[in-house]
């Protein structure tokens, strides 16, 4: 093992200032055996030229491919491991975007202008709408919709079993009907983005950063838009406060107390606050408390019910730390009587919660299939059109 007795001392000695240091420290005493062992890289000879013909031979048809692919496959696998480490680090840096391979959408050379976390954007790109006629190729050529706002929402998974610690570790939120959006207020304007990162609305609000009078700060919210108001499910950033890696219970607490206090006008409709922001309250999952709450009439038309794990951070994409049920499933799942509004939408042939979930999933798959077939069809039409217009080369 390594002798560490002198570590502290040597660390202290190393504290010279940057300006004094040279790029290549040349003190021979500082270079230990380990250092040498690391530096003594194996000298590899340049590939002998006599191999040129062998190399050419392996290029003939797929002759050298099996061996190459084998090496390549293993190398790729190790690359993936590296990538996984990088992702883990990026997560800690709150940089957890899925896609690192595509070129960044915005040229960040204007960084010296105004800098606020995720609020940087290039408006023309973020608002660029994709039409259904876009072919795969043109999609690739065109810049993708604001990548910065894609996959920025924490999405639930079907609650397929009741967690043992539901009562102690989970919080319940009712989810109103509407469109799931990311709200970002920064640099004097408020924008909303759909799940794919497309900007759908731009308007003033009294959120910090959200209108010309409140340019300072940044607000990032997770909301449902019901075409007249925003129902705030979650809060990720408020002024200078970064909340992504704060536990859910704290984020909710913050939302339900400080949010309204510090910006009382946001729940109203005013010229400076064009759409009201209404807070969706969280509820304990303790049985008695739930039993009471569920008999009350829900405050808005329900899309579903969310179960948040208290200790989770705000993550991007689907997470098992947030569960989802349709309102009419609650009575069965929790074994508690609910207000009649919870039964709205109950299918006539309802055969129980798990069967119903499977039905939803099947529909989703079908729709995805249909969607992709539709795309394909459109693409073919496009292809035919372009074929007809192109002259054939013989």
């Amino acid at each position: 093992t390594v002798d560490s007795s002198e570590t502290c001392q040597s660390m202290a000695e190393n504290q010279t200032s940057i300006n004094q240091s040279s790029p290549h420290p040349s003190d021979p005493d500082a270079v230990s055996d380990l250092c040498q062992s690391l530096a003594a890289a194996n000298t590899r000879h340049a590939v002998p030229v006599s191999c040129a013909m062998d190399r050419h031979q392996s290029m003939y048809k797929n002759r050298g491919r099996a061996a190459l692919d084998q090496v390549e496959r293993r190398r790729k696998e190790l690359e993936l491991q590296k990538q996984r480490r990088f992702n883990a680090m990026s997560l800690a840096r709150r940089l957890a975007e899925d896609d690192w391979t595509t070129k960044d959408v915005d040229e960040n050379d204007d960084l010296d202008d105004d800098l606020v976390s995720v609020a940087d954007t290039n408006e023309t790109l973020a608002t660029e709408e994709l039409t259904a006629d876009d072919t795969a190729e043109s999609l690739q050529r065109k810049r993708r919709p604001g990548k910065n706002y894609r996959n920025q929402l924490m999405l639930s998974e079907w609650l397929m079993e009741i967690p043992d610690n539901l009562e102690t570790e989970f919080l319940l939120k009712l989810c109103p009907q509407g469109k799931r959006v990311l709200v970002v207020a920064a640099k004097g304007i408020t924008k909303t983005f759909d799940r794919r990162g497309r900007c759908i609305m731009t308007f003033p609000s009294e959120l910090p950063g959200g209108c010309r009078q409140f340019r300072a700060g940044l607000t990032v919210l997770d909301c449902i838009w019901d075409t007249s108001s925003f129902h705030v499910l979650d809060i990720m950033h408020w002024r200078d406060l970064q909340l992504y890696d704060t536990e859910t219970s704290l984020r909710f607490h913050w939302l339900e107390t400080n949010f309204v206090e510090s910006a009382p006008n946001v729940c109203r409709r005013t010229p400076k606050n064009r759409h009201p922001f209404l807070i969706v309250e969280s509820h304990s999952c303790q049985r008695e408390r739930l039993a009471e709450f569920l008999t009350l009439q829900p405050p808005f038309p329900l899309d579903g019910v969310l179960f948040y794990h208290q200790r989770g951070a705000y993550t991007f994409g689907h997470t098992s730390l947030v569960g989802w049920l349709k309102p009419y499933m609650l009575t069965e799942v929790l074994g508690l009587p609910c207000h009649q509004h919870y039964s709205i939408g109950l299918p006539a042939d309802y055969q129980g919660w798990l069967v119903d979930v499977e039905r939803f999933e099947a529909t989703r798959r079908q729709m995805a299939l249909a969607y992709s077939q539709d795309r394909q069809l459109r693409r073919q039409q496009q292809q035919t059109r372009s074929e007809n217009s192109h002259s054939m080369v013989d």
Binding site: V2, S4, T7, C8, A12, N14, Q15, T16, I18, S21, P23, H24, S32, L34, C35, L38, A39, A40, P48, V49, A52, Y60, R63, A66, Q70, R73, R74, Q81, R85, A88, M89, R93, L95, D99, T101, D104, N108, D109, L111, V116, S117, L130, A136, L139, Q140, R150, N151, L155, D240, D245, T246, A313, H318, R365, S372, Q373, R375, Q376, H390, M392
Partner: protein, 893 residues
Amino acid sequence: MSIVTVLENSLSQDKSQRETALNFLQDAANQNLVQFLRQLSEILRDVNNTTFVRMQAGLQLKNQLYSKNSSVRMQLGQRWLTIPEADRSYIKENCLLTLGTEVQSSAAQAVAYIAVIELPAGQWANLMQVLVANVVDQASTPLKKQATLQAIGYICQDIDPNFLSAQSNEILTAIVNGMKKEEQNSNVRLAATQALLNSLEFTKQNFDIDAERHYIMQVVCEATQCAETGIKVAALQCLVKIMNLYYQYMETYMNQALFAITYEAMKSEVEEVALQGIEFWSTVCEEEIDLAIDEQESEEKGLPPTVSSKHYARGALPYLVPILTATLTRQEEQDDEDDWGPCKAATVCLMLLAQCAGDAIVGAVLPFVNDHIRSENWRFRDAAVMSFGCILEGPDPDNLRSLVENALPVIIELLRDPSNVVRDTSAWTIGRVLDTLPGLVVQEKFLNPLLHGLVEGLGAEPQVAANVCWAFSSLASAAYDQAVSQAGTSDSRSAQVETYCLSGFFEPIVGKLLETTDRQEAGQHNLRNAAYHALMEMLKHSPRDCYATLQKTTLIVMQRLKSIQDVADKLQTSHDRAQLNELQSMLCATLQSVLHKIDRNDAPNIADAVMELLLRMLTQQQVQQHQPADDEAEQQSGVQEDALLAMAALVDCLGEDFIKYMEVFKPVLLSCLRSVTETQICMNAVGLLGDLCRALGERIAPYTDEIFVILVELLSSQAVDQSVKPSVISAFSDFSLALGPGFFKFLEIVINTLQQASQAQVDVSNPDQVDYLNELREACLEAYTGIVQGLKGNGPTPHTQELRSIQPAVQPMLHFIAMVARDPVSTDEVLGCACGLLGDLVTAYGADLLPAVSDDVFSAMLQKCRRSKVSKAKTLAVWTTKEIRKLKNLQTA
């Protein structure tokens, strides 16, 4: 019994006599090596012995000096050097005196083997003088000159060029003397030309001098005009190699001579001559492709390129294409995999020419394709398809689109051509088309006929089937990529596609591929490998609606692995074992690719069985390694390597649930980590640690002490390959991220190690070493990042106490970042990591660090990376800039 008699018997018809003789020789070597070697050298030298006995003596001498196994070879060399000087001199003298006394010289080899041992050790200093004198001496017989030149050639071939460059003048004098057209004896001339071929690497200083270079080039060019085919071919080989080594000096010769010489050679009726003519132009293309890349890089950096391309290949295009396409029609009737002749070489040359010339190749080759693709003569059909396939890489794909659309239906038809050569080439070409224009081929109008043709092709001759398999590999990713781009990325599961154009055919294709791996002749032409690769690609690129088939295939693969393991236990011969290992490796890789696709919910159902298979594979291999292996190839079997990668996939798939296997897996993991001589196994085991850390988080803590000791040992070990060390250092970052404050106990040692490692220096003139340095630094930066992030914690408020404990290391870290930033050899990848660490430090230590990070060296680095083409570097630099800016804003506010 005299040794002469024994040597006579050593190749006797009678088996027992032969064995007795060989045993006797072995005993003699064991009992008194010096005496034995002296005797052999005497027998070799004595012209009264029969040719046969002298050759055997030379062979025995060689066996005591040289082995194909590199470690044995080193031992033999060291043993030779321990022999007393006087005895060695005696033996060497005998060998030298033998030169010129044999028709087929064994002495030339003996001299060379001794020289290869002694010259690097700084001994036998006068050898070259003696050899040169032999060649230049008017009185030397042609036989003596020939043997001497052969000895020089062998030495040049086997020795590190560095040990000879000081003597390049003498060596060249001897060689050129023997090569001149005045030399009457063609054996001497041939030996000299071959020696030149082997000496070109270390005669750079002679090539740098105009007069000397002119002279060498003149002699070589003259030799290409020799009537003797052997000499002509060797001289052409010299030109190929000269082109590769000294491109920058060739301008004068190219115009005056080389173009004409090689053009004529390509047209030669003699295959070996034509082959070298083609190889010459392949080499020109390769050089110019490399130069084009260099030029582009230099341009980006704003530097003038050191050597610039003269675009010989593009200039010669109109002359080369007709010869190459004509040569393509000279196929062998029955293709032998090991044959290499003008026809195949022309294929490769045309491919390289396309890469070199880009769009210009299309117009030059297209008429030939159009004229012959429907020819009655299969040779012309094949050549047409082949030349079409060759030009797909190089031109702008958009310019090929309409061309490919027109040709594709014909090529799909040709998958059913009566000629198997044409079928084979068509399958290969379709793979190339899929690689070049993936989106085009998967259109429905092509897809249906294509799939029918391909599936049918899987049943064809092994060679055709193998190329069909490669086409399936390309098709799998082409189809999947199309689906991904069509679906857009609507949610975070963007990688998970619902369906794609192959969904309807998926099950039959996979079934047929599985069948193909089982074909009787699957061992030929790499068919089995190709089929498994295709299978892997299909599974890796499968959408959700093919999941049932994926599940079914997983079970089949597992079943196959199990039955192989049962057989493997009973196998005796190493040949069978090697074959089985390869099969196991492929199956294991297939398993790995399905594990990446298996639903988290399904994973637990197969985890036990997969674990059992992998453990068995890892332990079985360990047993085998401890048995003496018959040859090196077997030792290098990748089964363990693949098993570890599959294990990583399983860990990734199971996440925290993997913890239940840790107890059984631990001993195997430790033993793999300790496989210092098996670089890849060690490396993969270290990589697997990272996945374990990420999956298990803090729960890996009970195992870390033991592992940590091994990691530290690996770092200081001399036996372990250098390439493992950066991975080990990176593994520290995985530990730290997983353990958080639990990493505290390792901190001192790790910080100390990192500080030492970050000072490592290498020979910056060697690109390999520069790569290594960058890898090492990247690893150190990652490790620091892991430590800072791990100790800081994930919560909104940093763990101040833990952070304070590494405060003394902050300055050295900044130092290191500055050093990396200033070093011109740092790549953008490394700089990106440095930016990342800088940002981590800023977020952890806050405003205190602002004065230090305001240093120009950091702002310059951040600015450079923000403009980088490497997206990671860019992202990290942007992030760090923002973090710094946030802090500054906070301060001023």
